[in-house]
């Protein structure tokens, strides 16, 4: 089989759109090579042998019947919740938000079993961000703060120009663990996580292990961070301290940040929620209008969930005990769609191996009609 592509890979939030895929027997070869991308495509590339289009209570079912049952569950729900959205397309999220609005659901983006990412700090004071190309072409110092993109976003450093663009650029990695990313550092700072807040505050007007001197010497710098800095207890305060540091340093130079999501990320869904509802990440439509939920744990009165799963066996899962499952097309392999990169750039996912499975967006729209019947 000839190479297919270039196509966009949604294996992580980077959405590299220069990827070609070649079938080699039962394996796939990706160019440029990427371990995460190869796994993402491999898990979605091959048709699911004998997989039903839908199940009800674990038994194969027609899609129409599954939608009818799902609609019934949602109609009867006292406290429905829509969740998941990892890797969801804009189209999926638009349809999901319409359904949530109609049934008065709670919407939470992100994996239910993942660590709490920390309350967002940006709405408190703001944030300075940039697209990948800006950092690649302008940042003379890039600080990666307690993240390991070599593992989680394998082509990040390449896409930020390390190894190809501009001699003399400095990669600083702050991490007390030995990781694939610390091995790439020009300057490694190994302080423990407990020191992060103090370091961030101190850097506003003083040096910490030579870092301030590095940053102060250049006209443009970037911080790359994620839940390694902002997750868990005190995460919001650390995130706020980072944004305050960026703001303070921005008087004399241009400083930007780039947040790494858990792959592949919920940026598309969060952007859609923000424009349709005015809020993102945790939005409750129960009162008849959107309300921003400020909570650290899922609300415990949810009785029916609709999970929008984009994993290898992607589908809509409805019910407290997964009573209904409906297979969805795999956006980026068997269906096209629009997704937002981790820096907000919108891109198209192609369908190099199209099939007839409906997308989540199509199913959610039909489910809305079912609920309204």
């Amino acid at each position: 089989m000839p190479e297919l592509g270039p196509v966009t890979c949604a294996g992580c939030g980077l959405l590299c759109d220069d990827v070609t895929v070649e079938e080699l027997g039962e394996d796939l070869r990706l160019r440029p090579e990427c371990r995460l991308g190869a796994r993402w495509f491999s898990e979605r590339w091959w048709p699911l042998a004998d997989a039903p289009a839908a199940t009800i209570d674990g038994q194969p079912a027609e899609i129409d019947a599954a939608l009818m049952r799902a609609g019934e569950l949602l109609r009867r729900a006292r406290r429905p919740q829509l969740r998941g959205f990892d890797g969801a397309t804009v189209e999926d999220a638009r349809a999901a938000a319409a359904l949530a609005d109609r049934i008065g659901a709670l919407v939470t983006t992100g994996r239910a079993d993942g660590p709490w990412p920390g309350a967002p700090a940006a709405p408190l004071r703001g944030i300075s961000t940039a697209t990948l190309g800006e950092i690649r072409d302008r940042s003379r110092v890039v600080v990666i703060w307690r993240e390991d993109p070599e593992t989680t976003h394998p082509r990040l450093l390449e896409r930020l120009g390390f190894g190809s663009r501009g001699a003399g650029r400095v990669l600083v990695v702050i991490d007390d663990r030995d990781t694939a990313t610390t091995a790439r550092a020009d300057l490694r700072l190994s302080w423990p996580p407990e020191r992060d807040l103090d370091a961030l505050v101190t850097l506003c007007d003083g040096d910490v292990d030579g870092l301030y001197e590095r940053l102060a010497a250049v006209p443009h710098a970037a911080f790359v961070y994620g839940s390694g800095l902002t997750g868990g207890a005190g995460g919001q305060r650390r995130a706020l301290a980072l944004h305050e540091l960026v703001r303070a340093m921005s008087h004399e130079r241009h400083v930007v940040t780039l947040e790494l999501p858990r792959a592949p990320g919920t940026r598309s869904a969060d952007d859609v929620l923000a424009w349709q509802a005015g809020y993102s990440e945790r939005v409750d439509f129960a009162s008849g209008h959107p309300e921003l939920v400020i909570a650290t744990e899922p609300l415990d009165d949810v009785d029916v969930t609709l999970n929008i799963e984009s994993g290898p066996g992607g589908g809509l899962v409805v019910g407290s005990a997964s009573e209904v499952w409906i297979r969805t097309a795999r956006a980026g392999v068997s269906a096209a769609g629009t997704v937002h990169r981790l820096d907000g750039v919108p891109l198209t996912l192609q369908a190099p191996r199209p099939d007839h499975a409906p997308t989540a967006a199509v199913l959610l729209t039909r489910l809305l009609a079912e609920v309204e019947r």
């Binding site: 966009t8 940039a130 241009h254 005015g278 809020y279 629009t338």
Partner: protein
């Protein structure tokens, strides 16, 4: 589709020289027609005022910048929720409303067409998706091209025909309607090291081009292409004392070409020797009077809360340093930047009161309402919801003088408002600056008027002495021949249509652009254009004149 006869209203249709004539307006199949049969729905408009649907030539309603503001300001909308109904989607309001609420509230004001005035081409998919979720109004967007590194390279090469092709290619690739230049060269400088350009002859470091060359090249390309809307300019040095020199210099640079200047109020400043802000509105209006090829929207400041959002990152950095609590910056590779700072205009502030006064000077000193159009640069000078109040300021001298009395007097004394400026806008003039003028300037031939063949976009108002109340609560709003608002309530929803423009270009320009893209973008050239029909269609494409 049902027919409607709007009977016996006082019609103001300045594009067709109808000024307050009592007559019927007939609508059928989404268009204004000469007559309809007896079966047509009859709307009794006796004693009412009939205008074409409103056309907002400059606002910020969709795209990554607007959405970033929503995320930045959750508290701003918490007190202004909109419940879902059988008819309406829920949402949140405030100064930067969610998409559905934006559409509903524009419709409730009698507006039927709105321009999103600043979209990064790279974010076109996002802009289009948001606009698809903004119901009730027809919409179009302008793409940002004043800090585009690829175009800088073509300008440096003096490749005029290639620039023209590239502009047309970009419109085709994005679904954009027109071209916007924001602080040409200055945003690129800001993204380098927080710099800026301070005159239109400052060189943009690293590119060997000046803002003047950018204005000439891209303004010239838009003019030669014959796009329906001329180049839309946010000039350099926005907000800077003394920037009227830059604005006039920019106007002279574009001399002989069609051009629209955005939010002119923010570019009409003088400075006394102490660098205190003064007004030079009269000079700019005088220049416009002598140059009919130039138009402007005012960008009126309204006292109260606002959200400054602009591609002009250095302006936002300045506002941050002036005490802005929240500040958001976002840099988009190759093309542009973005800054957001929530802001409050205070009547007691010298600067804010002067800005308010300068905006009114521009409206009131202008001799030709077709050249000076109504905007608040929503939400920069204030929400679009303040348009009725602004209209009252223009139509009601006594009210205006009362409001002047509440503002900083030192500032007001430095404006022409205190020199017996007693002009009161007529309804016909309001129809020009909110409907006919913007539509004509946008090249939307079927908008902004009520002649046979026009889109059946009509607003019917009670003729109230309180013009603010009148314009805040239309009796009927009709869009594409369907009644959407009846007695101040939304009674039907519509998706609205997307407008884009198209001009011929040499497809060979792709061979020139592709390597320039490869060096600069992190998105491949092949994947850059928006092709998804769900985003691009349906659309009404307005062809360039040449």
């Amino acid at each position: 589709m049902s027919a409607i006869r709007i009977a016996g209203g006082r019609v103001h249709d300045p594009a067709n020289d109808v000024d307050g004539e009592v007559r019927d307006v007939c609508l059928e199949d989404g268009k204004v027609v000469a007559d309809v049969g007896p079966q047509a729905r009859r709307i009794d408009a006796r004693g009412m005022v009939v205008l074409p649907g409103g056309v907002d030539i400059h606002a910020h309603i969709a795209g990554p910048k607007v959405n970033a503001a929503r995320k930045l300001l959750p508290e701003e909308r918490r007190a202004d929720p909109l419940d879902r109904t059988e008819l309406l989607r829920s949402g949140t309001g405030g100064i930067v409303p969610s998409t559905f609420v934006t559409g509903y509230r524009y419709s409730l004001l009698g507006y039927t067409t709105v321009v999103e005035a600043a979209a990064p081409p790279l974010a076109a998919r996002h802009v289009l998706a948001e606009l698809r979720d903004t119901p009730m109004i027809d919409k179009l967007f302008l793409i940002l091209m004043g800090n585009n590194q690829v175009l800088f390279e073509l300008i440096r090469q003096r490749a005029a025909s290639r620039i023209k092709d590239a502009v047309a290619w970009w419109l085709e690739a994005t679904g954009g309607y027109g071209v916007k230049l924001v602080n040409p060269g200055g945003i690129e400088r800001f993204k380098q090291d927080n710099g800026n350009v301070h005159s239109i002859d400052d060189e943009v470091t690293g590119y060997g081009v000046t803002p003047r060359q950018v204005l000439e090249a891209i303004g010239g390309a838009v003019d030669e292409l014959g796009l329906p809307h001329p180049v839309h300019v946010h000039a350099n040095n926005l907000g800077v004392p003394g920037n009227a020199d830059t604005t006039l210099d920019t106007m002279r640079t574009l001399s002989g070409r069609q051009a629209h200047f955005a939010h002119l109020q923010f570019h009409s400043y003088g400075a006394n020797p102490g660098r205190t802000l003064t007004s030079r509105a009269s000079e700019l209006i005088e220049y416009l009077g002598d140059h009919p090829e130039i138009t402007a929207d005012v960008g009126q400041v309204m006292f109260g809360p606002a959200v400054t959002m602009t591609s002009d990152g250095p302006v936002s950095a300045t506002l941050r340093d002036l005490g802005g609590d929240k500040w958001l910056n976002h840099d988009t590779e190759v093309e542009t930047g973005c800054g957001i700072v929530p802001y409050t205009y205070r009547a007691g502030s010298y600067v804010h009161a002067l800005q308010w006064g300068i905006g009114l000077e521009l409206f009131l000193l202008g001799r030709n309402p077709w050249q000076v159009m109504l905007s608040t640069d929503h939400p920069n000078g204030g929400s679009f919801l303040s348009y009725p109040k602004l209209i009252r300021l223009l139509m009601d001298r006594a009210y205006r003088e009362d409001q002047m009395g509440r503002a900083n007097q030192r500032a007001i004394r430095r404006t022409a408002l205190v020199d017996g400026l007693d002009r009161e806008y007529t309804l016909n003039e309001i129809a020009i600056i909110t409907r006919a003028g913007p539509a004509r300037r946008l090249g939307l031939r079927d908008k902004g008027h009520l002649g046979v063949g026009a889109d059946a976009d009509v607003t019917v108002y009670h003729d109230r002495a309180d013009r603010e109340e009148m314009f805040a609560t239309p009796r009927y709003v009709i869009k594409a021949g369907r009644v959407l608002v009846d007695d101040g309530e939304l009674c039907r929803t519509e998706d609205g249509v997307l407008f884009s423009s198209r001009a011929d270009f040499d497809p060979d320009v792709s061979r020139v652009l592709e390597p320039l893209f490869g060096e600069r973008y992190t998105v491949s050239f092949a994947h850059y254009p928006v092709r998804d029909p769900a985003l691009r269609e349906p659309a009404r494409v307005v062809e360039a004149a040449t």
